[in-house]
Symmetry: C2
Subunit: 170 residues, 2 copies
């Protein structure tokens, strides 16, 4: 029997993707088309889609301490700002899930695992940005929690292509 | 040195507090005044206040499986409904924290502990509803994570007063 799949799209928000954004990730623009193809495929099959995003309260109270001083000078991904929004090319449909995370892993202190279990999802297909931190952490936690995890390398980006190899050290 | 305190107000939402609400907790109305006194005191001292609330997506994907079948017949605490709102007597100020939980404990898969650490809070003052589940679970997790926890019994309610003694079995 085919295992039930879900698509996890990570951090494709204006503040990380737009070239002029405060936290622009160089490799983000190039993967939009491939993520759109994945998204279209999951929508066609009526399989669950999770848009996993970062958000930080404006006072910096929920951000990693390593990022906090920079954030307080030049904030990003603040709820209800344009920068925190998912890029228009990947706008979620009403029946898709938006999961807000404050750390690298989409699983850390979020309801992601609750929902995946409820939906009987066994396999995760992961894409988005960026390899060395959010993608890697989410892949590791997904594997640790017992999911079959597939990373779509052509739909995954990073600040530098030098980091590409890192993801394959798992 | 006095330890830094935070107030945690749990589940004081219309769907749990209003007498005609689908999930009305009998003891909720009687504690509103005492919670207001606590809230006033924390605001006067400029100490952090956390409004911890339940929310469930309308499709039931993030609710406990034990509650799901009832929820799908008669939902409650759905985001952006009046029922999910905090009661008007305890309306949060802009600088107060709202934490959304899907389970009993305010700590489970939420950013509560991230923020408490960032704010250097060492002591939690807990009130709200109800003793046997959300209050108890949050108290236990708070203690387990190393916080000093004070439960304000006169500002804590339950469906039945018989359950009052349960909280003191910690």
């Amino acid at each position: 029997m085919l295992k039930k799949r879900a698509l996890l799209i990570i951090d494709m928000q204006n503040d990380f993707v737009l070239p002029t954004a405060p936290q622009a990730v160089a490799g983000a623009i190039d993967i939009i088309c491939n993520i759109q193809i994945l998204l279209h495929s999951f929508r066609e099959k009526n399989l669950p889609v999770f848009h996993i995003i970062r958000e930080y309260r404006a006072d910096g109270s929920d951000i990693e301490h390593t990022r906090r001083s920079d954030f307080l000078i030049r904030s990003y991904c603040v709820p209800n700002t344009n920068g925190a929004k998912i890029i228009s090319e990947l706008t979620p449909l009403d029946n898709e899930y938006i999961i807000v995370k404050n750390r690298f892993s989409g699983f850390m202190q979020t309801e992601l695992d609750f929902i995946l279990r409820q939906l009987n999802v066994q396999e995760l297909v992961i894409c988005g940005i960026q390899y060395p931190n959010c993608i890697r952490a989410t892949v590791f936690d997904g594997v640790s929690l017992g999911y079959d995890v597939t990373l779509i390398a052509d739909a995954t980006g990073a600040q530098s292509e030098e980091w590409l190899n890192q993801i394959f050290l798992i």
